[in-house]
Protein backbone atom coordinates (compact mmCIF):
# COMPACT_ATOMS: atom_id res chain seq x y z
CA UNK A 1 0.00 0.00 0.00
CA UNK A 2 2.88 2.32 0.95
CA UNK A 3 4.45 1.75 -2.43
CA UNK A 4 1.27 2.48 -4.32
CA UNK A 5 0.77 5.76 -2.40
CA UNK A 6 4.30 6.80 -3.28
CA UNK A 7 3.80 5.89 -6.89
CA UNK A 8 0.66 8.00 -6.94
CA UNK A 9 2.51 10.98 -5.46
CA UNK A 10 5.25 10.64 -8.07
CA UNK A 11 2.74 10.38 -10.89
CA UNK A 12 0.84 13.38 -9.56
CA UNK A 13 3.97 15.53 -9.49
CA UNK A 14 4.94 14.38 -12.95
CA UNK A 15 1.49 15.22 -14.27
CA UNK A 16 1.70 18.70 -12.69
CA UNK A 17 5.07 19.13 -14.37
CA UNK A 18 3.49 18.16 -17.66
CA UNK A 19 0.70 20.70 -17.12
CA UNK A 20 3.31 23.35 -16.23
CA UNK A 21 5.06 22.52 -19.48
CA UNK A 22 1.77 23.06 -21.34
CA UNK A 23 1.36 26.36 -19.48
CA UNK A 24 4.78 27.50 -20.71
CA UNK A 25 4.24 26.26 -24.26
CA UNK A 26 2.80 29.55 -25.65
CA UNK A 27 6.27 31.08 -25.26
CA UNK A 28 7.41 28.85 -28.11
CA UNK A 29 4.06 28.10 -29.78
CA UNK A 30 2.97 31.59 -30.81
CA UNK A 31 0.84 30.30 -33.66
CA UNK A 32 -2.91 30.64 -32.87
CA UNK A 33 -3.73 27.39 -34.69
CA UNK A 34 -1.39 25.25 -32.60
CA UNK A 35 -2.48 27.02 -29.43
CA UNK A 36 -6.00 25.95 -30.39
CA UNK A 37 -4.76 22.38 -30.87
CA UNK A 38 -3.31 22.42 -27.35
CA UNK A 39 -6.59 23.79 -25.96
CA UNK A 40 -8.53 20.94 -27.56
CA UNK A 41 -5.88 18.51 -26.24
CA UNK A 42 -6.61 19.81 -22.75
CA UNK A 43 -10.35 19.34 -23.35
CA UNK A 44 -9.63 15.71 -24.24
CA UNK A 45 -7.24 15.38 -21.29
CA UNK A 46 -10.12 16.34 -18.96
CA UNK A 47 -12.38 13.76 -20.59
CA UNK A 48 -9.70 11.06 -20.48
CA UNK A 49 -8.85 11.78 -16.84
CA UNK A 50 -12.54 11.61 -15.91
CA UNK A 51 -13.00 8.39 -17.86
CA UNK A 52 -9.92 6.91 -16.22
CA UNK A 53 -11.32 7.56 -12.74
CA UNK A 54 -14.09 5.14 -13.62
CA UNK A 55 -12.30 2.62 -15.82
CA UNK A 56 -8.94 2.64 -14.06
CA UNK A 57 -10.25 2.63 -10.52
CA UNK A 58 -13.54 0.75 -10.56
CA UNK A 59 -13.14 -1.42 -13.66
CA UNK A 60 -16.41 -0.07 -15.09
CA UNK A 61 -16.41 1.22 -18.65
CA UNK A 62 -18.42 4.21 -19.74
CA UNK A 63 -18.98 4.55 -23.48
CA UNK A 64 -20.28 8.06 -23.06
CA UNK A 65 -17.59 10.59 -22.02
CA UNK A 66 -18.12 12.51 -25.27
CA UNK A 67 -21.89 12.30 -24.78
CA UNK A 68 -21.67 13.88 -21.32
CA UNK A 69 -19.41 16.58 -22.75
CA UNK A 70 -22.13 17.18 -25.34
CA UNK A 71 -24.73 17.39 -22.55
CA UNK A 72 -22.56 19.94 -20.74
CA UNK A 73 -21.99 21.94 -23.91
CA UNK A 74 -25.70 22.05 -24.75
CA UNK A 75 -26.71 22.91 -21.17
CA UNK A 76 -24.74 26.13 -21.05
CA UNK A 77 -25.38 26.77 -24.76
CA UNK A 78 -29.17 26.43 -24.48
CA UNK A 79 -29.33 28.47 -21.26
CA UNK A 80 -27.51 31.29 -23.04
CA UNK A 81 -29.45 30.94 -26.28
CA UNK A 82 -32.99 30.80 -24.89
CA UNK A 83 -32.75 32.70 -21.62
CA UNK A 84 -29.52 34.75 -21.96
CA UNK A 85 -28.06 33.19 -18.84
CA UNK A 86 -24.37 34.13 -18.51
CA UNK A 87 -21.61 31.49 -18.61
CA UNK A 88 -20.81 32.16 -14.94
CA UNK A 89 -24.11 30.41 -14.17
CA UNK A 90 -24.25 28.27 -17.30
CA UNK A 91 -20.99 26.40 -16.67
CA UNK A 92 -21.93 25.32 -13.11
CA UNK A 93 -25.34 24.32 -14.48
CA UNK A 94 -23.56 22.12 -17.05
CA UNK A 95 -21.60 20.39 -14.31
CA UNK A 96 -24.81 19.79 -12.35
CA UNK A 97 -26.80 18.59 -15.36
CA UNK A 98 -24.16 16.13 -16.56
CA UNK A 99 -23.55 14.94 -13.00
CA UNK A 100 -27.27 14.51 -12.28
CA UNK A 101 -27.89 12.49 -15.44
CA UNK A 102 -24.78 10.45 -14.64
CA UNK A 103 -26.00 9.82 -11.09
CA UNK A 104 -29.44 8.69 -12.30
CA UNK A 105 -27.92 6.36 -14.91
CA UNK A 106 -25.39 5.09 -12.37
CA UNK A 107 -28.04 4.31 -9.77
CA UNK A 108 -29.88 2.13 -12.27
CA UNK A 109 -26.91 0.36 -13.82
CA UNK A 110 -24.29 0.07 -11.08
CA UNK A 111 -26.39 -2.36 -9.04
CA UNK A 112 -25.57 -4.92 -11.71
CA UNK A 113 -22.27 -6.64 -12.20
CA UNK A 114 -20.99 -7.26 -15.70
CA UNK A 115 -20.78 -5.17 -18.84
CA UNK A 116 -24.10 -3.40 -18.26
CA UNK A 117 -22.62 0.08 -17.92
CA UNK A 118 -20.79 -0.17 -21.24
CA UNK A 119 -23.90 -1.45 -23.03
CA UNK A 120 -26.26 1.11 -21.52
CA UNK A 121 -24.00 4.13 -21.92
CA UNK A 122 -23.31 3.28 -25.56
CA UNK A 123 -27.05 3.10 -26.32
CA UNK A 124 -27.63 6.21 -24.24
CA UNK A 125 -24.93 8.14 -26.13
CA UNK A 126 -26.21 7.27 -29.59
CA UNK A 127 -29.80 8.03 -28.66
CA UNK A 128 -29.01 11.33 -26.91
CA UNK A 129 -27.20 12.46 -30.05
CA UNK A 130 -30.22 11.49 -32.12
CA UNK A 131 -32.63 13.30 -29.80
CA UNK A 132 -30.58 16.50 -29.82
CA UNK A 133 -30.20 16.29 -33.60
CA UNK A 134 -33.94 15.76 -34.08
CA UNK A 135 -35.18 18.41 -31.65
CA UNK A 136 -34.61 21.15 -34.15
CA UNK A 137 -37.00 23.67 -32.53
CA UNK A 138 -35.19 23.64 -29.20
CA UNK A 139 -31.56 22.77 -30.01
CA UNK A 140 -31.32 23.84 -33.68
CA UNK A 141 -30.49 20.21 -34.41
CA UNK A 142 -27.66 19.33 -36.75
CA UNK A 143 -27.23 22.97 -37.77
CA UNK A 144 -25.49 23.56 -34.47
CA UNK A 145 -26.07 26.07 -31.72
CA UNK A 146 -24.21 29.37 -31.43
CA UNK A 147 -22.72 29.88 -27.99
CA UNK A 148 -21.31 33.20 -26.73
CA UNK A 149 -17.56 33.36 -26.14
CA UNK A 150 -15.86 34.15 -22.86
CA UNK A 151 -12.83 36.20 -23.89
CA UNK A 152 -11.36 38.02 -26.85
CA UNK A 153 -7.90 36.54 -26.56
CA UNK A 154 -7.11 32.92 -27.27
CA UNK A 155 -4.46 32.87 -24.55
CA UNK A 156 -7.11 33.66 -21.93
CA UNK A 157 -8.97 30.46 -22.94
CA UNK A 158 -5.65 28.66 -22.91
CA UNK A 159 -4.94 29.53 -19.29
CA UNK A 160 -8.50 28.78 -18.19
CA UNK A 161 -8.07 25.28 -19.57
CA UNK A 162 -4.63 24.94 -17.92
CA UNK A 163 -6.07 26.04 -14.57
CA UNK A 164 -9.10 23.74 -14.81
CA UNK A 165 -6.93 20.79 -15.82
CA UNK A 166 -4.53 21.39 -12.93
CA UNK A 167 -7.42 21.78 -10.49
CA UNK A 168 -9.12 18.61 -11.75
CA UNK A 169 -5.86 16.72 -11.46
CA UNK A 170 -5.30 17.96 -7.91
CA UNK A 171 -8.89 17.04 -7.03
CA UNK A 172 -8.41 13.53 -8.41
CA UNK A 173 -5.18 13.10 -6.49
CA UNK A 174 -6.73 14.20 -3.21
CA UNK A 175 -9.71 11.95 -3.82
CA UNK A 176 -7.58 8.92 -4.62
CA UNK A 177 -5.35 9.54 -1.60
CA UNK A 178 -8.34 9.72 0.71
CA UNK A 179 -10.36 6.89 2.24
CA UNK A 180 -12.66 7.03 -0.79
CA UNK A 181 -9.69 6.33 -3.06
CA UNK A 182 -8.85 3.30 -0.96
CA UNK A 183 -12.40 1.99 -1.42
CA UNK A 184 -12.23 2.57 -5.17
CA UNK A 185 -8.96 0.68 -5.48
CA UNK A 186 -10.34 -2.12 -3.33
CA UNK A 187 -13.32 -2.39 -5.71
CA UNK A 188 -11.01 -2.49 -8.70
CA UNK A 189 -8.89 -5.25 -7.22
CA UNK A 190 -11.75 -7.49 -6.12
CA UNK A 191 -15.32 -6.32 -6.00
CA UNK A 192 -16.69 -9.27 -4.07
CA UNK A 193 -13.91 -9.15 -1.50
CA UNK A 194 -14.37 -5.40 -1.06
CA UNK A 195 -18.12 -5.85 -0.54
CA UNK A 196 -17.53 -8.58 2.01
CA UNK A 197 -15.31 -6.20 3.98
CA UNK A 198 -18.12 -3.66 4.20
CA UNK A 199 -17.32 -1.39 1.26
CA UNK A 200 -20.58 -0.07 -0.21
CA UNK A 201 -19.63 -1.10 -3.75
CA UNK A 202 -22.75 0.24 -5.47
CA UNK A 203 -22.47 3.63 -3.78
CA UNK A 204 -18.79 4.13 -4.60
CA UNK A 205 -19.14 3.00 -8.19
CA UNK A 206 -22.08 5.35 -8.67
CA UNK A 207 -20.15 8.17 -7.01
CA UNK A 208 -17.15 7.62 -9.29
CA UNK A 209 -19.39 7.57 -12.36
CA UNK A 210 -21.17 10.76 -11.23
CA UNK A 211 -17.87 12.53 -10.67
CA UNK A 212 -16.56 11.38 -14.03
CA UNK A 213 -19.68 12.61 -15.86
CA UNK A 214 -19.55 15.95 -14.00
CA UNK A 215 -15.94 16.44 -15.15
CA UNK A 216 -17.02 15.61 -18.71
CA UNK A 217 -19.85 18.14 -18.42
CA UNK A 218 -17.43 20.83 -17.28
CA UNK A 219 -15.03 20.04 -20.12
CA UNK A 220 -17.88 20.16 -22.64
CA UNK A 221 -19.17 23.50 -21.30
CA UNK A 222 -15.73 25.10 -21.53
CA UNK A 223 -15.26 23.70 -25.00
CA UNK A 224 -18.63 25.11 -26.08
CA UNK A 225 -17.67 28.63 -24.99
CA UNK A 226 -14.28 28.24 -26.65
CA UNK A 227 -15.49 26.96 -30.03
CA UNK A 228 -18.68 29.08 -29.86
CA UNK A 229 -20.58 26.50 -31.88
CA UNK A 230 -21.84 23.16 -30.58
CA UNK A 231 -23.38 20.40 -32.65
CA UNK A 232 -24.45 16.81 -31.93
CA UNK A 233 -21.16 15.70 -33.53
CA UNK A 234 -19.52 16.52 -30.20
CA UNK A 235 -21.13 13.35 -28.82
CA UNK A 236 -20.19 11.00 -31.66
CA UNK A 237 -19.13 7.54 -30.53
CA UNK A 238 -15.90 8.07 -32.47
CA UNK A 239 -15.15 11.00 -30.13
CA UNK A 240 -15.61 8.66 -27.19
CA UNK A 241 -13.41 6.25 -29.09
CA UNK A 242 -10.71 8.91 -29.25
CA UNK A 243 -10.97 9.47 -25.48
CA UNK A 244 -10.63 5.75 -24.78
CA UNK A 245 -7.70 5.50 -27.22
CA UNK A 246 -5.98 8.34 -25.35
CA UNK A 247 -6.44 6.75 -21.94
CA UNK A 248 -5.40 3.28 -23.10
CA UNK A 249 -2.40 4.49 -25.10
CA UNK A 250 -1.24 6.67 -22.20
CA UNK A 251 -1.99 3.95 -19.68
CA UNK A 252 -5.14 3.22 -17.68
CA UNK A 253 -5.16 3.41 -13.90
CA UNK A 254 -2.47 6.00 -13.18
CA UNK A 255 -2.66 9.75 -12.81
CA UNK A 256 -0.43 10.78 -15.67
CA UNK A 257 -1.33 8.26 -18.39
CA UNK A 258 -4.60 9.82 -19.60
CA UNK A 259 -3.18 13.37 -19.76
CA UNK A 260 -0.01 12.34 -21.55
CA UNK A 261 -2.08 10.12 -23.83
CA UNK A 262 -4.50 12.94 -24.68
CA UNK A 263 -1.65 15.30 -25.59
CA UNK A 264 0.23 12.69 -27.56
CA UNK A 265 -2.79 11.40 -29.45
CA UNK A 266 -4.43 14.72 -30.23
CA UNK A 267 -1.26 16.58 -31.26
CA UNK A 268 -0.08 13.69 -33.43
CA UNK A 269 -3.57 13.38 -34.86
CA UNK A 270 -3.33 17.00 -35.98
CA UNK A 271 0.00 16.18 -37.60
CA UNK A 272 -1.48 13.10 -39.29
CA UNK A 273 -4.38 15.17 -40.59
CA UNK A 274 -2.32 16.06 -43.62
CA UNK A 275 -1.79 12.38 -44.34
CA UNK A 276 -5.53 12.25 -44.92
CA UNK A 277 -7.85 10.96 -42.23
CA UNK A 278 -5.87 7.93 -41.11
CA UNK A 279 -5.59 9.08 -37.47
CA UNK A 280 -8.29 6.83 -36.06
CA UNK A 281 -7.00 3.85 -38.04
CA UNK A 282 -3.54 4.29 -36.53
CA UNK A 283 -4.81 4.88 -32.99
CA UNK A 284 -7.29 2.00 -33.04
CA UNK A 285 -4.54 -0.32 -34.24
CA UNK A 286 -2.23 0.98 -31.54
CA UNK A 287 -4.90 0.41 -28.88
CA UNK A 288 -5.45 -3.18 -30.02
CA UNK A 289 -1.71 -3.86 -29.90
CA UNK A 290 -1.35 -2.23 -26.49
CA UNK A 291 -4.35 -4.06 -25.05
CA UNK A 292 -3.09 -7.33 -26.51
CA UNK A 293 0.59 -7.10 -25.63
CA UNK A 294 1.41 -4.24 -23.24
CA UNK A 295 -1.37 -3.88 -20.73
CA UNK A 296 -0.08 -0.78 -18.97
CA UNK A 297 0.20 1.56 -21.93
CA UNK A 298 3.14 3.72 -22.94
CA UNK A 299 3.57 5.20 -19.46
CA UNK A 300 3.73 1.68 -18.03
CA UNK A 301 6.41 0.75 -20.56
CA UNK A 302 8.39 3.90 -19.79
CA UNK A 303 8.14 3.28 -16.05
CA UNK A 304 9.31 -0.27 -16.43
CA UNK A 305 12.22 0.81 -18.60
CA UNK A 306 13.22 3.38 -15.95
CA UNK A 307 12.93 0.88 -13.11
CA UNK A 308 14.92 -1.63 -15.12
CA UNK A 309 17.76 0.84 -15.50
CA UNK A 310 17.58 1.69 -11.77
CA UNK A 311 17.98 -1.95 -10.85
CA UNK A 312 20.88 -2.43 -13.20
Amino acid sequence: MQGSARRMAVEFRLSLALIALIALAPIVVDNAYWQGVLIVSMYFALLAAGWNLLAGYTGQFSMAPACFAMIGAYTTGLLAYHWSIPPSLGIPASILAAGAIGAALGLIVMRLRGPYLALTTLSFAEIMRLVIGNSYGFTRGDLGLNVPGLFESRLAYYYVFVAVLAAAQAGLYLLLRSRAGLFLRAIRDDEVAAASRGVDVVFWKTAAFTLSTAVSGLAGALYAHFSQLVSPELGLVSQTGLVICMAVIGGIGGLIGPIAGALLVYVSSEMLREAGGIQLIVFALLVILIARFFREGLWGLARRALQGSDAA
Partner: protein, 296 residues
Protein backbone atom coordinates in the same frame (compact mmCIF):
# COMPACT_ATOMS: atom_id res chain seq x y z
CA UNK B 1 -56.21 -2.95 -41.00
CA UNK B 2 -53.44 -0.48 -40.32
CA UNK B 3 -52.75 -2.27 -37.05
CA UNK B 4 -52.33 -5.66 -38.71
CA UNK B 5 -49.90 -4.10 -41.18
CA UNK B 6 -47.98 -2.44 -38.34
CA UNK B 7 -47.86 -5.67 -36.37
CA UNK B 8 -46.56 -7.79 -39.25
CA UNK B 9 -44.02 -5.15 -40.27
CA UNK B 10 -42.91 -4.89 -36.65
CA UNK B 11 -42.37 -8.65 -36.53
CA UNK B 12 -40.29 -8.44 -39.72
CA UNK B 13 -38.10 -5.68 -38.26
CA UNK B 14 -37.83 -7.78 -35.11
CA UNK B 15 -36.69 -10.76 -37.15
CA UNK B 16 -33.75 -8.77 -38.50
CA UNK B 17 -32.96 -7.54 -34.99
CA UNK B 18 -32.95 -11.19 -33.97
CA UNK B 19 -30.48 -12.07 -36.73
CA UNK B 20 -28.07 -9.59 -35.11
CA UNK B 21 -28.93 -10.28 -31.49
CA UNK B 22 -28.58 -14.08 -31.51
CA UNK B 23 -24.91 -13.78 -32.52
CA UNK B 24 -24.18 -11.34 -29.73
CA UNK B 25 -26.05 -13.58 -27.29
CA UNK B 26 -24.13 -16.67 -28.37
CA UNK B 27 -20.81 -14.89 -27.84
CA UNK B 28 -21.89 -13.63 -24.46
CA UNK B 29 -23.08 -17.11 -23.58
CA UNK B 30 -19.81 -18.81 -24.43
CA UNK B 31 -17.19 -16.19 -23.45
CA UNK B 32 -19.18 -13.94 -21.07
CA UNK B 33 -18.02 -10.84 -22.93
CA UNK B 34 -19.76 -8.35 -25.19
CA UNK B 35 -18.49 -7.92 -28.72
CA UNK B 36 -18.56 -4.18 -29.45
CA UNK B 37 -17.49 -4.81 -33.04
CA UNK B 38 -20.70 -6.72 -33.80
CA UNK B 39 -22.14 -3.88 -35.88
CA UNK B 40 -19.03 -3.99 -38.05
CA UNK B 41 -19.74 -7.60 -39.02
CA UNK B 42 -23.08 -6.27 -40.30
CA UNK B 43 -21.20 -3.56 -42.20
CA UNK B 44 -18.77 -6.11 -43.68
CA UNK B 45 -21.74 -8.11 -44.99
CA UNK B 46 -23.48 -5.07 -46.45
CA UNK B 47 -20.32 -3.96 -48.28
CA UNK B 48 -19.25 -7.40 -49.47
CA UNK B 49 -22.68 -7.98 -50.98
CA UNK B 50 -23.03 -4.50 -52.48
CA UNK B 51 -19.51 -4.25 -53.91
CA UNK B 52 -19.40 -7.78 -55.32
CA UNK B 53 -22.76 -7.34 -57.00
CA UNK B 54 -22.15 -3.80 -58.29
CA UNK B 55 -18.42 -3.69 -59.07
CA UNK B 56 -17.86 -7.29 -60.16
CA UNK B 57 -21.31 -7.59 -61.68
CA UNK B 58 -21.96 -10.91 -59.97
CA UNK B 59 -25.52 -12.13 -59.53
CA UNK B 60 -26.93 -10.94 -56.16
CA UNK B 61 -27.86 -14.54 -55.34
CA UNK B 62 -24.15 -15.44 -55.58
CA UNK B 63 -23.05 -12.32 -53.72
CA UNK B 64 -25.28 -13.20 -50.76
CA UNK B 65 -23.48 -16.41 -49.71
CA UNK B 66 -20.15 -14.66 -50.30
CA UNK B 67 -21.21 -11.92 -47.87
CA UNK B 68 -22.14 -14.62 -45.38
CA UNK B 69 -18.70 -16.20 -45.79
CA UNK B 70 -16.97 -12.82 -45.38
CA UNK B 71 -18.84 -12.29 -42.11
CA UNK B 72 -17.94 -15.79 -40.90
CA UNK B 73 -14.30 -15.17 -41.74
CA UNK B 74 -14.30 -11.79 -39.99
CA UNK B 75 -15.82 -13.40 -36.89
CA UNK B 76 -13.44 -16.34 -36.88
CA UNK B 77 -10.38 -14.10 -37.35
CA UNK B 78 -11.52 -11.82 -34.54
CA UNK B 79 -11.72 -14.80 -32.22
CA UNK B 80 -8.35 -16.20 -33.30
CA UNK B 81 -6.46 -12.93 -33.14
CA UNK B 82 -8.05 -11.13 -30.21
CA UNK B 83 -10.18 -13.40 -28.03
CA UNK B 84 -7.75 -16.25 -27.34
CA UNK B 85 -6.07 -14.47 -24.41
CA UNK B 86 -9.43 -14.52 -22.62
CA UNK B 87 -9.15 -18.22 -21.97
CA UNK B 88 -5.90 -19.63 -23.27
CA UNK B 89 -3.40 -19.73 -20.46
CA UNK B 90 -3.58 -16.14 -19.23
CA UNK B 91 -4.95 -17.10 -15.86
CA UNK B 92 -3.84 -13.89 -14.15
CA UNK B 93 -6.09 -11.95 -16.51
CA UNK B 94 -9.14 -13.25 -14.72
CA UNK B 95 -9.95 -9.91 -13.15
CA UNK B 96 -9.20 -7.88 -16.23
CA UNK B 97 -11.00 -9.90 -18.89
CA UNK B 98 -14.04 -7.62 -19.15
CA UNK B 99 -11.83 -4.58 -19.58
CA UNK B 100 -9.70 -6.30 -22.19
CA UNK B 101 -12.70 -7.45 -24.19
CA UNK B 102 -14.40 -4.05 -24.12
CA UNK B 103 -11.28 -2.13 -25.12
CA UNK B 104 -10.15 -4.51 -27.81
CA UNK B 105 -13.52 -5.03 -29.52
CA UNK B 106 -14.36 -1.33 -29.33
CA UNK B 107 -11.00 -0.48 -30.92
CA UNK B 108 -11.64 -3.12 -33.59
CA UNK B 109 -14.94 -1.42 -34.34
CA UNK B 110 -13.23 1.99 -34.68
CA UNK B 111 -10.54 0.42 -36.85
CA UNK B 112 -12.96 -1.27 -39.26
CA UNK B 113 -15.26 1.75 -39.60
CA UNK B 114 -12.37 4.10 -40.38
CA UNK B 115 -10.57 1.62 -42.59
CA UNK B 116 -13.66 1.13 -44.77
CA UNK B 117 -14.27 4.88 -44.75
CA UNK B 118 -10.74 5.39 -46.08
CA UNK B 119 -10.60 2.51 -48.55
CA UNK B 120 -14.13 2.36 -49.95
CA UNK B 121 -15.18 5.94 -49.25
CA UNK B 122 -17.78 7.50 -46.97
CA UNK B 123 -20.59 7.65 -49.52
CA UNK B 124 -23.61 5.39 -48.93
CA UNK B 125 -24.02 2.70 -51.59
CA UNK B 126 -27.27 1.01 -52.35
CA UNK B 127 -27.24 -2.78 -52.66
CA UNK B 128 -29.07 -4.44 -55.57
CA UNK B 129 -32.38 -6.12 -54.83
CA UNK B 130 -32.52 -9.91 -54.87
CA UNK B 131 -35.87 -9.93 -56.66
CA UNK B 132 -37.44 -7.28 -58.79
CA UNK B 133 -40.99 -7.27 -57.47
CA UNK B 134 -42.48 -3.88 -56.46
CA UNK B 135 -44.61 -3.33 -53.38
CA UNK B 136 -47.68 -5.46 -53.36
CA UNK B 137 -50.61 -6.15 -51.09
CA UNK B 138 -50.70 -9.49 -49.30
CA UNK B 139 -54.13 -9.31 -47.69
CA UNK B 140 -53.91 -6.27 -45.41
CA UNK B 141 -50.10 -6.08 -45.53
CA UNK B 142 -48.00 -4.04 -47.94
CA UNK B 143 -44.64 -5.64 -48.73
CA UNK B 144 -41.97 -5.31 -51.40
CA UNK B 145 -40.66 -8.47 -53.01
CA UNK B 146 -37.18 -7.84 -51.55
CA UNK B 147 -38.57 -7.60 -48.03
CA UNK B 148 -40.57 -10.79 -48.48
CA UNK B 149 -37.57 -12.77 -49.75
CA UNK B 150 -35.27 -11.29 -47.11
CA UNK B 151 -37.78 -12.20 -44.41
CA UNK B 152 -37.98 -15.75 -45.68
CA UNK B 153 -34.18 -16.13 -45.64
CA UNK B 154 -33.89 -14.59 -42.17
CA UNK B 155 -36.57 -16.90 -40.80
CA UNK B 156 -34.87 -19.93 -42.34
CA UNK B 157 -31.48 -18.91 -40.90
CA UNK B 158 -32.81 -18.47 -37.36
CA UNK B 159 -34.69 -21.76 -37.52
CA UNK B 160 -31.56 -23.40 -38.93
CA UNK B 161 -29.42 -21.99 -36.14
CA UNK B 162 -31.86 -23.21 -33.49
CA UNK B 163 -31.89 -26.72 -35.00
CA UNK B 164 -28.09 -26.70 -35.36
CA UNK B 165 -27.59 -25.78 -31.70
CA UNK B 166 -30.24 -28.21 -30.52
CA UNK B 167 -29.43 -31.35 -32.49
CA UNK B 168 -26.05 -31.25 -34.21
CA UNK B 169 -22.89 -32.57 -32.59
CA UNK B 170 -21.11 -29.21 -32.84
CA UNK B 171 -24.17 -27.34 -31.62
CA UNK B 172 -24.31 -29.54 -28.55
CA UNK B 173 -20.63 -28.83 -27.93
CA UNK B 174 -21.31 -25.11 -28.09
CA UNK B 175 -24.12 -25.41 -25.55
CA UNK B 176 -21.93 -27.49 -23.28
CA UNK B 177 -19.17 -24.85 -23.34
CA UNK B 178 -21.72 -22.12 -22.63
CA UNK B 179 -22.96 -24.05 -19.61
CA UNK B 180 -19.57 -24.76 -18.13
CA UNK B 181 -16.32 -24.13 -19.92
CA UNK B 182 -14.15 -26.17 -17.58
CA UNK B 183 -16.61 -29.04 -17.44
CA UNK B 184 -16.87 -29.14 -21.21
CA UNK B 185 -13.10 -29.20 -21.67
CA UNK B 186 -12.80 -31.99 -19.09
CA UNK B 187 -15.30 -33.95 -21.15
CA UNK B 188 -12.95 -33.66 -24.12
CA UNK B 189 -14.62 -30.80 -25.97
CA UNK B 190 -12.28 -28.47 -27.83
CA UNK B 191 -13.49 -25.24 -26.23
CA UNK B 192 -11.27 -23.06 -28.42
CA UNK B 193 -12.83 -24.55 -31.53
CA UNK B 194 -16.31 -24.05 -30.09
CA UNK B 195 -15.53 -20.37 -29.43
CA UNK B 196 -14.20 -19.94 -32.96
CA UNK B 197 -17.34 -21.57 -34.32
CA UNK B 198 -19.58 -19.24 -32.31
CA UNK B 199 -17.73 -16.16 -33.54
CA UNK B 200 -17.93 -17.38 -37.14
CA UNK B 201 -21.68 -18.06 -36.80
CA UNK B 202 -22.24 -14.72 -35.17
CA UNK B 203 -20.29 -12.87 -37.88
CA UNK B 204 -22.09 -14.80 -40.63
CA UNK B 205 -25.58 -13.96 -39.33
CA UNK B 206 -24.75 -10.28 -38.81
CA UNK B 207 -23.23 -10.07 -42.30
CA UNK B 208 -26.23 -11.78 -43.81
CA UNK B 209 -28.47 -9.27 -42.10
CA UNK B 210 -26.40 -6.40 -43.52
CA UNK B 211 -26.50 -7.88 -47.02
CA UNK B 212 -30.24 -8.56 -46.97
CA UNK B 213 -31.03 -5.05 -45.77
CA UNK B 214 -28.54 -3.22 -48.03
CA UNK B 215 -31.19 -2.49 -50.73
CA UNK B 216 -33.30 -0.84 -47.99
CA UNK B 217 -30.60 0.66 -45.74
CA UNK B 218 -27.66 1.71 -47.91
CA UNK B 219 -24.20 0.42 -47.03
CA UNK B 220 -22.00 3.07 -45.39
CA UNK B 221 -19.01 2.79 -43.02
CA UNK B 222 -21.10 3.42 -39.89
CA UNK B 223 -24.19 1.54 -41.04
CA UNK B 224 -23.60 -1.10 -38.36
CA UNK B 225 -23.89 1.30 -35.42
CA UNK B 226 -27.66 1.26 -35.05
CA UNK B 227 -28.22 -2.46 -35.63
CA UNK B 228 -25.50 -3.08 -33.03
CA UNK B 229 -27.05 -0.73 -30.50
CA UNK B 230 -30.43 -2.33 -30.98
CA UNK B 231 -28.92 -5.73 -30.38
CA UNK B 232 -27.14 -4.50 -27.20
CA UNK B 233 -30.52 -3.37 -25.88
CA UNK B 234 -32.10 -6.66 -26.90
CA UNK B 235 -29.41 -8.80 -25.31
CA UNK B 236 -29.95 -7.10 -21.95
CA UNK B 237 -33.75 -7.20 -22.34
CA UNK B 238 -33.72 -10.88 -23.15
CA UNK B 239 -31.49 -11.72 -20.22
CA UNK B 240 -27.78 -11.84 -21.04
CA UNK B 241 -26.98 -15.07 -22.84
CA UNK B 242 -30.53 -16.47 -23.22
CA UNK B 243 -31.13 -17.36 -26.87
CA UNK B 244 -34.95 -17.71 -26.79
CA UNK B 245 -35.03 -14.58 -24.62
CA UNK B 246 -33.11 -12.58 -27.21
CA UNK B 247 -35.39 -13.74 -30.05
CA UNK B 248 -38.56 -12.85 -28.14
CA UNK B 249 -37.07 -9.50 -27.08
CA UNK B 250 -36.16 -8.77 -30.72
CA UNK B 251 -39.70 -9.38 -31.92
CA UNK B 252 -41.13 -7.35 -29.03
CA UNK B 253 -38.85 -4.41 -29.79
CA UNK B 254 -39.66 -4.57 -33.51
CA UNK B 255 -43.42 -4.49 -32.86
CA UNK B 256 -43.08 -1.79 -30.21
CA UNK B 257 -41.08 0.46 -32.54
CA UNK B 258 -43.46 -0.14 -35.39
CA UNK B 259 -46.50 0.94 -33.35
CA UNK B 260 -44.64 3.67 -31.48
CA UNK B 261 -43.46 5.27 -34.72
CA UNK B 262 -47.09 5.74 -35.76
CA UNK B 263 -48.88 6.35 -32.48
CA UNK B 264 -46.20 8.13 -30.40
CA UNK B 265 -43.52 9.76 -32.51
CA UNK B 266 -41.74 8.85 -35.71
CA UNK B 267 -38.66 11.00 -35.03
CA UNK B 268 -38.05 9.45 -31.64
CA UNK B 269 -38.80 5.82 -32.53
CA UNK B 270 -35.22 4.78 -31.76
CA UNK B 271 -35.53 5.97 -28.16
CA UNK B 272 -38.29 3.51 -27.18
CA UNK B 273 -35.87 0.64 -26.80
CA UNK B 274 -33.70 2.64 -24.42
CA UNK B 275 -36.71 3.61 -22.30
CA UNK B 276 -37.80 -0.02 -22.05
CA UNK B 277 -34.21 -1.00 -21.25
CA UNK B 278 -34.07 1.45 -18.34
CA UNK B 279 -37.44 0.26 -16.99
CA UNK B 280 -36.37 -3.37 -17.21
CA UNK B 281 -33.03 -2.65 -15.52
CA UNK B 282 -34.89 -0.89 -12.68
CA UNK B 283 -37.63 -3.46 -12.13
CA UNK B 284 -36.28 -6.74 -13.48
CA UNK B 285 -32.49 -6.49 -13.77
CA UNK B 286 -32.01 -10.11 -14.81
CA UNK B 287 -33.82 -9.29 -18.06
CA UNK B 288 -37.24 -10.44 -19.20
CA UNK B 289 -36.25 -14.07 -19.60
CA UNK B 290 -32.93 -14.39 -17.79
CA UNK B 291 -32.06 -16.17 -14.60
CA UNK B 292 -30.62 -14.47 -11.60
CA UNK B 293 -26.92 -15.19 -11.37
CA UNK B 294 -25.20 -16.42 -8.26
CA UNK B 295 -21.80 -15.58 -6.99
CA UNK B 296 -19.47 -17.50 -4.75
Amino acid sequence: MLNVDLFINGLIIGLFYALMAVGLTLIFGILKVVNFAHGEFYMVGAYTYTLIALKLGLDPWLALPLALLAGALAGWLTERALMRPLYAGYSSWGLMRDEYAVVVTFALSLLLVNLVDKVVGPYPQRGPALVDIPRMALGPIMLSGQKLVATGIALAMIAGLALFLRYSFWGRQVRAVAQNRLGASLAGIDTARASGLVFALSGALAALSGALLSPIINASPDVGAFPAIKSFVIVVLGGMGSLPGSIIASLLLGVLESFGAVYISYDYRDTFGLVILMLVLIFRPQGLFGERGREV
